[in-house]
């Protein structure tokens, strides 16, 4: 009997294949804004936050921070205005899940924002959409106008006394503006240089005021949590590790994407727990004809690669960390046996060199160094000491900068040169290749001698 396919669970994606799913009428027919009304009329803001905490919902933008906890950091009694900055600057390579949500169900996104606004007592929502997503911007503006007309945005919403406005803010092309404090700088009309934390945005964010920053997909989950309760959400997916008191598990559903060298790239929604292999073979159709999968970055570009032998691992926050990688945005990029890992490394290094904001020296200089070294290998001029130099660079870049962009550059590259060293050796000069061969033989003799 054929193995049963891991089932899809359509919560965020329930309206994706409906005609005109982005219009108010279709969304409303499918329940849009009813959970916002429920929260407004039947729940206190604290109850909403408690429900989200109970759900163990973790941020879907890559970092996986517990959402309810983040909301509870927002001070209650302040004279200043408070803001929600919805992070829709989805610039992580290989990642397109938020675009699907914004284009196909902008009202669900907006409802999540409104519930968050009510829970944290804020009245202005900025949706920071990257400039390269014109359709997302158009659909979100459309949703905002419709919600205003129907009385779900604006002054005194549904007679509750709660007022809230929403605006789309357009980015202009910078990966770093997906970093939460880079986003805030950009929202304030500056270069997107990430800020040193603390102060954390929940206390001092946009315009010096308390600010909640959440990913699009994160907030799209919130209406379901209000409808079914945090406990029902926490029952889905992967429960926290009972042996690890700090584990939050990977609860609920998630949009998983696949792109690259694969037969049917796309985006599907599952409860956490599907393995990388199931996702790639049962849903994304497996490798292209006559090819074999060589390496997979499980979440965006910024996580360590998995080799073809390492794919039998659940797509979960903790599970992928356990095998030395990470969930990231849960949108996998697949490379097959026609892909040269050295050339791929150059491509990856170029991305980070290009997108480094330039504030911190290790990142600004280091990313270019790495790119140059990979270029040298691709000209068949690599040496063994270049690989050592790269290892040294990794140590001097990782963890030594204001934001995580530098770490994001190191992680995939370090894993590639460790797991695919032979491909780098094949691009060394003949003398270096001979020396490497000799060194390997020496190592083998030593090992044999010891045992």
């Amino acid at each position: 009997m054929a193995k049963k396919r891991y089932p899809e669970t359509k919560i965020l994606s329930k309206n994706f294949d409906k005609e005109n799913s982005w219009t108010f009428d279709v969304a409303r027919e499918n329940g849009a804004y009813t959970m916002f009304e429920k929260a407004l009329k039947e729940m206190t803001p604290d109850q909403v936050i408690e429900e989200v905490k109970t759900s163990r919902l973790r941020g879907r933008g890559g970092a996986g921070f517990p959402t309810g906890v983040k909301w509870s950091f927002v001070p209650k009694d302040v004279d200043k205005p408070k803001y929600l900055a919805l992070n829709a600057d989805e610039s992580e390579p290989g990642t397109f899940k938020d675009r699907w949500l914004m284009e196909l169900d902008p009202h669900m996104v907006l409802e999540g924002c409104l519930i968050c606004a009510y829970a944290t007592g804020l009245s202005t929502i900025y949706i920071y959409v990257r400039g390269e997503y014109p359709l997302s911007q158009e659909r979100l503006w459309g949703a905002i106008r419709e919600a205003e007309e129907k009385g779900f945005l604006g002054e005194n919403i549904q007679g509750s006394g709660f007022s809230c406005n929403a605006y789309v803010h357009t980015g202009a092309g910078a990966y770093i503006c997906g970093e939460e404090t880079g986003l805030l700088e950009s929202l304030e009309g500056k270069r997107g240089h990430p800020r040193i934390k603390p102060p954390f945005p929940a206390v001092e964010g946009a315009f010096g005021c308390p600010t909640v920053i959440n990913n699009v997909e994160t907030l799209a989950h919130v209406p379901w949590i209000i409808e079914h309760g945090g406990e029902a959400f926490a029952k889905q997916g992967i429960a926290p590790d009972p042996d690890n008191p700090r584990s939050n598990g990977s609860t609920g559903t998630k949009l998983f994407g696949v792109s690259g060298d694969i037969k049917t790239p796309g985006c599907w929604e599952f409860e956490f727990g599907i393995t990388v292999k199931e996702l790639l073979y049962d849903y994304a159709g497996g490798p292209l004809d006559g090819r074999e999968i060589k390496a997979v970055i499980p979440g965006g570009l910024s996580m360590p690669v998995l080799t073809a032998d390492e794919l039998d691992v659940p797509m979960g926050f903790d599970d992928l960390v356990k095998v030395g990688s990470g969930l990231g945005t849960a949108c996998a990029i697949v490379m097959d046996d026609t892909c040269c890992m050295v050339e791929a490394s150059e491509n990856i290094a170029h991305f980070f060199a290009d997108e480094s904001c330039g504030q911190c020296t290790p990142c600004r200089e280091g990313c270019h160094w790495m790119e140059k070294i990979f270029k040298k290998f691709n000209a068949n001029q690599g040496t063994r000491s270049d690989l050592d130099l790269l290892e040294g660079l990794f140590v001097n870049i990782e963890g030594r900068t204001i934001c995580a962009l530098a770490d994001a550059a190191v992680w995939p590259l370090r894993s590639i040169i460790r797991k695919f060293r032979h491909e780098f050796v094949a691009k060394m000069t003949p003398e270096e290749q001979a020396a490497e061969k000799e060194a390997q033989a020496e190592k083998a003799r030593e090992t044999a001698g010891v045992s």
Binding site: P81, E90, S91, E92, P93, G94, T95, F96, R99, R130, G131, E132, Y133, P134, L135, Y167, H169, T170, G171, A172, G173, A174, Y175, S186, L187, E188, G189, K190, R191, G192, F207, G257, V258, S259, G260, D261, P265, G266, C267, I297, L301, C331, I333, M335, C339, A344, N347, I348, H350, F351, D354, E355, C357
Partner: protein
């Protein structure tokens, strides 16, 4: 003791002559953008926050690039320095600081699109544009081809934008067709 030879007058720093006079700011906003600029400004607690959306508008209005005169005009309107505006313009990849040709072609170069053949698309685009490299307008001033980092269209890679419109699963033939269709 020999007399000190008279000191030659200090040579002017090399870049002094090359330095351009301060640009004359354009009157910003032009009538066509006035309402929209005011609507944008009304959304934020500070005028500066409106800078990026307004610069995008301005770029669209003034032939797809931001000249020093437009830059100065926007700076005056928003109430920030010219250098702040230049800093912002040079940070974000969607702004053009030089005349941008009649049509702008973005070719995604990041991993997924690269795996799906984007490098070849870029070469084709550059050849059609008669441009020596990405980011430079071609000889006839018709096309500006830009290498862009991930455009978020990975499930339908490789992706190309022509004048702000996304095209997906682009083949060489399709790209040639798209560029031929530009007048």
């Amino acid at each position: 003791m020999s007399a000190t030879p008279p000191r030659a007058p200090a040579a002017a720093p090399k870049d002094v002559e090359a330095r351009q006079p301060a640009p004359t700011p354009v009157a910003f906003p032009p009538a066509a953008l006035k309402d929209e600029c005011e609507a944008i400004l009304s959304r934020y607690p500070t005028r500066q926050a409106a800078l990026i959306p307004i610069l995008l508008l301005a770029q669209g209005h003034y032939d797809n690039w931001v000249s020093p005169e437009v830059e100065a005009g926007v700076a005056e309107y928003i109430g920030v320095s010219d250098s702040h505006v230049r800093g912002v313009l040079s940070f974000y990849s969607m702004f053009n600081l030089k005349p941008a040709g009649k049509h702008e072609v973005w070719v995604c170069r990041t991993l997924t699109c690269w795996l799906r053949g984007a490098a070849k698309l870029r070469d084709t685009a550059l050849e059609k544009a008669q441009a020596e490299r990405a980011g430079v307008v071609g000889e006839d001033g018709k096309f500006l081809v830009k290498n862009m980092e991930c455009l978020g269209l990975c499930e339908v890679a490789p992706a190309v934008f022509v004048d702000g419109v996304a095209h997906t699963n682009v083949t060489n033939e399709k790209l040639v067709e798209l560029m031929d269709a530009c007048e």
